[in-house]
Structure formats: C-alpha cells, structure tokens
C-alpha cells in the first residue's frame, strides 16, 4: 500500500500542495485527476523523491519511503525523457542496471519489455529516430524494465494514438491485476480514467476534494438525482416552467436535476406523453466538475452543457 500523508509543498508564496492525503492499495489502478496546476505532478515528483516535501510523508506498507524503496518504483514523468542518441535496447538495459539489475538480467528485461510494448524491431535504433508514439512506448518500458513494486505515471496517455492507448491500458491493468502492483496515474482523459480505474482521487489547489471508487463518488457526490425525461408533445421549456433545474434540453429529451423524482414525473405527465423516464449515472467528468466546481471557467461551464446534452 502506497500512502501519501499530509504532503505540503510551497514555491515561494504559491502553495502547490496543501496537506494532500490518499492511499493506493496493491493491485489497484488509481486515477489521479484535477485541473491544471492542482498539484498532481508535484505530488508524484515528491513520491519519487525528485522533489522534497515541506511537510508530510510518503509511506510504503506503513514505513516511510527511502532511497532503496524508491529505486524499485517505476516512474514516467510528465515531461518525457530519454537519451535521444542512445539505442533503444541499450537504453532500457542501462536503466535496468541503474535500478540494480546485473548485466545479463538487465538485457533480458530490456528485450522482454521491448516485446511487450511493441518496439522489439527497433532495438538498435536511436531513440530520436523513433516516432513520438514509439518513444512513448519506450518510455513506458523504461518505467517497467526493473519490475517495479509500484508504478507512478504522469499523464501516460497524452500524445498516444488509439492503438497506443490500448497497449498502455493493457499493460497497466495487467501489472495491477497479475502482479498486484499499485498503479497510480494522472490523466485529463476522464472517460479513460473511469473505464480503467478502480479508484480515483480528485484534487484541487493542492488538496484532496474527493476520493474513492467511481461508484462511491457517485453515491457521495452532489451530481445525483439527474433524470432523463422524454416527453412527446410537450411545449419546449416545460420543465423549467414547472420550476425544475434543467441541465439541457434537446428535442423531446430533457436532462433535469430533481431531488424529488415523483414531482418531476407528475410535471412531465402534465406536459405531455412520457415515453422515457430514467436516472442518469453521473459520469466521472460530471463528478469532477461538481467537485472542482468553483474554479470552472466560463469556457468549462459552456462545455459542460454541451457534453451532458
């Protein structure tokens, strides 16, 4: 179990992290989401020891993390980095050795992971000769080549084509399911996070605003009581006229937030012939916006309406 406990970090007057606390269990795929500048990268850098915290601690199985433990973590930084002029296989073997592997096992691990991420045929190419997508695959292999006990990946899906997204997803889920490795990754692609993750932490301004499984977030969140009502022959704007909070309206279909669904149903029947009446499960994207709320810009508010429609 990987625990972040009360992590705090300031850059001058700017508070990047403010007592961030959450934990990732073995075998769990954990999504780390939050608006730009919320502190995700800072938190991950602190976990990897690349940055130090002003306060708080990172623990692994109850013990404060040290250099030896960190060396067994796998890390993919937000700003990807490899030696551009070094050959793929050589590079992977080098990183495996830095993590403590001996020469023979380092080169067999390098070959294994080139197979796994699909760059085995580029073993002797310099990294700079590869496409960005393939460089990203090598980057993932770099995070995995030493058989890490935990994976920390900062925006692993950004810049990947759909096939790359599938490869990345499969590898991450396999590491969690088969090897019981906790996998923590950050992403802005909330649909992907929702599909892959067992649990999610939403952070804002350096602090945790919600965490748990997506179902838990739904049960807890404010974004419940949303109903999709389709009424034939109703006058446009019937729900708003009846005093309900309308999220969107598109032809016959109206998306309404209603704490009392019976009252909504009555109003719908009064407006016309009800052909459909169903609860809508909030997507992670919606939960995210509910949780992060106040910082949502005018642009985000506008896109919210469009997306929920």
């Amino acid at each position: 179990m990987l625990e972040l406990d009360g992590l705090t970090r300031r850059y001058g007057d700017v508070v990047a992290l403010d007592g961030l606390t959450f934990s990732v269990s073995p075998g769990q795929v954990f999504g780390f989401v939050g608006p730009n500048g919320a502190g995700k990268t800072t938190a991950m850098r602190i976990v990897l020891g690349v940055l130090s915290a002003d306060a708080g601690s990172v623990r692994w199985e109850g013990r404060p993390i040290d250099e030896a433990l960190r060396a067994r973590f796998g890390y993919m930084p937000e700003e990807r980095g490899l030696y551009p002029k070094m050959r793929v296989e050589e590079q992977l073997a080098y990183f495996a050795r830095l993590h403590g592997a001996d020469a023979p096992s380092a080169s067999s691990a390098a070959r294994h992971w080139m197979e796994q991420v699909g760059v085995a045929n580029r073993a002797d190419d310099r990294v700079e000769q590869l496409s960005l997508g393939n460089q990203q695959r090598v980057q993932l292999a770099t995070a995995l080549v030493h058989d890490p006990i935990a994976l920390i990946l900062d925006e692993p899906f950004s810049g990947l084509d759909p096939v790359g997204v599938d490869v990345m997803s499969e590898v991450l889920v396999a590491r969690a399911r088969e090897d019981g490795v906790p996998v923590l990754f950050s992403s802005h692609q909330l649909d992907l996070v929702e599909r892959l993750c067992d649990a999610v932490a939403i952070i804002k301004d350096g602090g945790l605003v919600a965490s748990g499984t997506v179902a838990e977030l739904r049960a807890r969140g404010a974004a419940q009581g949303i109903w999709r009502v389709e009424v034939q022959g109703a006058a446009p704007g019937w729900a708003a006229a009846a005093g309900f909070d309308v999220r969107s309206e598109d032809g016959d279909a109206t998306l309404v937030t209603a704490p009392d669904e019976q009252a909504l149903l009555d109003a719908a029947r009064a407006a016309g012939r009800v052909t459909r009446f169903e609860p809508v499960a909030a997507t992670l994207a919606e939960l995210f916006r509910e949780a992060v709320g106040p910082t949502a810009s005018a642009f985000e508010s506008a896109s919210r309406t469009i997306e929920t429609a």
């Binding site: 940055l51 930084p77 700003e79």
Partner: protein, 388 residues
C-alpha cells in the same frame, strides 16, 4: 553515494563518447598533426644529416673508422663504401658519393667544396689515426693508448639551467595539450549535463539515483576518456620523437609526460566543477556557449600567460600564477617542465590547486543538485546555491 552506480554512469559516458565518430576522427587528426610535426623535419632533411664516403685504401678505412664517433656526436650518419682508386674518383665526379679517401697518406677527393661537418669529422679521424700511431711508436700498450684517447667526459656546469631548449620545447607542447584537453573536455561536461536537462531524461535518472552519483559518474567517465586520449597522444609523440632521434634525453620526455598527466588530473577536477555548474544552470544547448564564456576566458588567459611562464619560469608573474588554482593548472606543470623551480613552490602550488579543486567540486555538487531539475529557464547562480 554508491560506487557501483557512479561506475555505471561513468561507463555509459565512456562508451558513448568513444563510440562517437567525431571523437575517433579528432584523435586520429591530432595524432596525425603531431606525427607530421615530429617526423617531417627529419624526413625533409632538416636536423639529421647523412654522408657517403668511399674508401680505396687501408689507411682511408682507418680514418673513417676513427671518425665515426665524432660523426655520431654531430648527428651525421656516415655510410662507408669500398672501391678502387679509379672507381672512387669516378663516383665523386658522378656525385654518387660525398667524398673519397684515396692513398696510403689519405687524400680527400670531393667534386667541389667539402661539407663543413664532414670535413671536421674526417680531420678529427685523421688526427686520431696519427695520434694512435705516435702513441704506439712511443711504446704504449693498447690499453694505455685507449686511456689516453678516451678522456673522461668534460664536466659541464650550467650557469642558467632554466635556459634549456629541449625542456622549453616540452613545456610548450604541454601548454597545448593541457589547454586543449581542459577546454575541450570541460565543454563536454557542460554539454552532457545540458543534454540530460534538455531531453528531460534527468528526471527519470534522478528518480533512480542521486544527483551526486550522476555528476560524479559523468565527471569520472569524461575524465577517463580525456586522460586516455592525452596518454595516447603523449605516448605517440614521445615515441615518434625518440624514433626520429629528435630528443636528446628520452627519459626527460617521459618525465614531462608524467607531469602533464598528473597535473591534468588536478586541473581537470578544477575546471570540470566549473563547467558542471555552468551546464546545470541553463536549459538548452544554445545557451552553453554563453554560460561557459567566463570559464573559457579564464582558460584562454591562462593559456597565453603560460607561454610567458615557459620563457621565464622563475619570473615573478609565473611564481604568482602558480599559487592561483585556475592559472596554476597549466602554469605550474609548465614551469616544472621548463626549468628548476623551488620544490616548496611546486608542493604549495599543487596543494592549493588540489584544495581549490576539492572545494569547487563540493560546491558544484550542491549547485548541480539544486539546479539540474529546473529545466524550464536559466537558473541564477545565487538561487541555485541557496535553494534547498
């Protein structure tokens, strides 16, 4: 700090650098230029001379044999051939031989004009033969003859020992070698650090190993390459010089090479620390030239001052520069090679340089650790020193 990690980093540096074609080419070109400088003069006939002498009589042969040691002393290679009187005369006329010795009271035949050196050597030989004959007539046995004819070597007292042409030559070569190795490989350190910053690979590296290990490995690896190249170039130079007889005392050349290698280690440690700091402060390759300019100015100044130190190793300026680490890195070894300087100055200058290098390396590792992860913009030196 884990030694194993440092060695892994160093190994990568060595393998990557040595494998670069530009490195191979640069090394070969340097050796080529050196070989040309050393070999060409004798190949073109400067310095070493040779002469062919044809003898037609027993007496002539005796003269040539007696002349051989003095020919050697003058760096004149004598080739002797035998012929009849008539043949010898003809060969002189045809220009096939430089001189012929004919007759029982040997006469020297030349086409026109006798070379000064060859003439002196032959006169020496002739007088030696006559002296030997006179000594034998006087009843001296062969051992006593030898004793008279090979006097003990003259005692030479140097009144101004600093003025040693050969030592000054070595010292001048040492300036070139030290300067180009320091500035070239120092720049590699800065460029290597910036490469890791610019490509962002440094963040992955530092999630695995410590900044100190990464820096130490890099300085060590590049230092091994620099020292290896210096050793190779130096050895080739010395061996070629010996082979072409350009050096009077081969042992002095090896001593000079060892001094260069030892002081290179100290100077490299000193300048490597400075270049490492420079590299850690900037985010992009394009800014390396800019940030390393102050260091290069110091090195260039040292380079020019060193020539002054060669021509006047005991001068006041040379003495002062030997106690200032950045200049001592070249001035001190050059003075040691060029002339006798007081031992205390060598010891004190070396200790100061070593202390300077150690202090700078410690400071560099702190600044490097603070600055190397700030990949976005240039970091101010004071900020890099302070930031925790």
């Amino acid at each position: 700090m884990s030694l194993q990690t440092v060695l892994l980093v160093a190994r990568r540096e060595i393998v990557t650098r040595v494998r670069e074609r530009s490195f191979l080419i640069a090394t070969l070109v340097t050796i080529g230029i050196l070989a040309a400088i050393v070999v060409l003069p004798s190949a073109l006939g400067f310095g070493n001379k040779s002469a062919t002498v044809t003898v037609s009589s027993q007496a002539g042969q005796q003269v040539v044999t007696a002349a051989t040691p003095s020919a050697r002393a003058l760096d004149l290679a004598l080739t002797v051939e035998r012929a009849s009187d008539a043949q010898a005369r003809q060969r002189v006329l045809d220009g096939d031989t430089d001189a012929a010795l004919v007759g029982d009271a040997p006469q020297v035949l030349v086409r026109s004009g006798l070379d000064d050196d060859l003439g002196a050597v032959l006169r020496q030989g002739a007088s030696l033969v006559r002296t030997q004959a006179a000594l034998a007539r006087a009843g001296l046995d062969p051992a006593a003859q030898r004793a008279v004819l090979t006097p003990p070597p003259l005692r030479v007292v140097e009144l101004d020992p600093g003025r040693n042409d050969q030592a000054q030559g070595f010292a001048t070569v040492a300036i070139f070698l030290l300067f180009f190795q320091l500035i070239g490989y120092g720049y590699w350190i800065a460029a290597g650090i910036v490469e890791e910053k610019a490509s962002r690979v440094v963040e992955i590296l530092l999630s695995t190993i410590r900044p100190r290990e990464l820096l130490a490995g890099k300085v060590l690896g590049i230092g091994v390459v620099a020292l290896g190249q210096l050793l190779l170039i130096g050895l080739v130079g010395v061996l070629l010089s010996i082979a072409t007889d350009n050096i009077d005392v081969p042992a002095d050349a090896f001593t000079a090479l060892v001094i260069v290698l030892l002081f290179f280690l100290l100077g490299y440690a000193f300048y490597a620390a400075m270049f490492a700091v420079a590299g850690a402060l900037v985010p992009r390759q394009e800014e390396i030239q800019n940030v390393t300019t102050p260091i290069q100015v110091v090195l260039f100044a040292t380079y020019f001052l060193s020539f002054q130190a060669v021509s006047d190793p005991q001068g006041g300026l040379a003495q002062i520069l030997s106690f200032i680490p950045p200049t001592a890195a070249i001035v001190l070894p050059v003075r040691v090679i060029a002339g006798d300087i007081p031992a205390w100055q060598v010891v004190a200058g070396t200790i100061l340089l070593a202390i300077g290098a150690a202090v700078l390396l410690l400071a560099a590792s702190r600044i490097y650790a603070n600055a190397v992860l700030r990949t976005g913009t240039r970091v101010r030196l004071a900020d890099a020193w302070r930031a925790a």
